[in-house]
Amino acid sequence: MHISISAEPIFYLWNFPVTNTLLISTAIVLSLIIFSFFLNKRLKTIPSGIQNIIEYILESLLNLVDSVTGSREQSKKFFPLVASIFIFVILSNWVEILPGLGTIGIKEINNGKEVIKPFIRSSSSDLNVTLSIALISVFSVQILGITAMGIKKYSKRFFVNPFKKPYVVGTFVGILEIISELAKIISFSFRLFGNIFAGEVVLIISLFLLPYFFNILPLPFLFLELFVGFIQALIFSMLTLIFLKVGCTEIEE
């Protein structure tokens, strides 16, 4: 049994490592795109079947966003990013529930040891994925903040003239703000990565603890991971939403 922190490359395209997590996340993205095309074609005024479920999910997400922003107009601005993050993250978290996790893959001899490169690996357990979403989230906060109040007002948050009213304190707080933006990226990506990677490790280990059919150990962990996956997706999207809200609110001087 071998668990690697980084995602295993399945094959190389002109020196570009196509990892299992890239394949999984691409599959998620593609299936979501196909699904939305499919739904878009069959959208009806009087909903039925799958449209009901989608409307229910989107409406509850929108209400959640509303409860934070307090205005429908702003909610509509934030909603696409928040909802996309939620949907993508929850789906990539739940990939680890699929059977075959960490067990079905390519066998390889590495440093004299037999190593399996699994096909299925939750895309959230790759730092590349979580970091990319975190980057998008934090950069969207900056961009939406600038469009909401203009670059001049927005930059006041970070760059404060040391010879004006709060003097050096204001400047120092500005520097702290910049650091906190960077910290947001780190905390976003490592929180999700850590949670899901740990969950995956637990699931893989619990698979090998008892032999054959006596192994009921993964079952409680599967439920746990279902819950953790949901919670992490919610945290990621809610934090993004709150940062967006804070970023679009002018600072009182």
Binding site: S4, D126, S132
Partner: protein, 168 residues
Amino acid sequence: MELFDKLGVDWRLLIAQIINFSLLLFILYKFLYKPVLNLMEKRERKVRESLDNAKKIEEKLLNTEREKEAIIKKAKEKELNIIREAEKKANERRDNIIKKIEKETGDLINKTKEKLRLEKKETINEIKKEIAELIVLSVEKILQEKMDDEEDKRIVEKIVNDINNKNL
């Protein structure tokens, strides 16, 4: 940066994932969120409108009903008034007529009585005259020879006077 290397962070993969997610974001926004939210909003507006309309119609109906009742009430009152007035008028008229008739009858009776009295008086007078003449005639016949005209006249007058004095 060595830490990131150990954790498997590769800028090429990072960019690939960013493109992946941005694509997802764009497509979902264009084909899922926008149409679905628009649809929901439209439907909500429609439902609210139709509910409002229903409320308005109900209110109107209620108002009409109230108006109708008021009109009916008014008409009934008017009707009652008319009937009452008519009754009053009829009563007055009847009373008037009765009074008039009574008066007329009374007058007629009185007149008739008076007439009868006069007639009676006249008749009595005539009868008296005739009786007196008769008596004179009979007395004349009886006393034809014994009295001259002058005497006769005097006696007759005296008798007539006596009768008149006695009877009246």
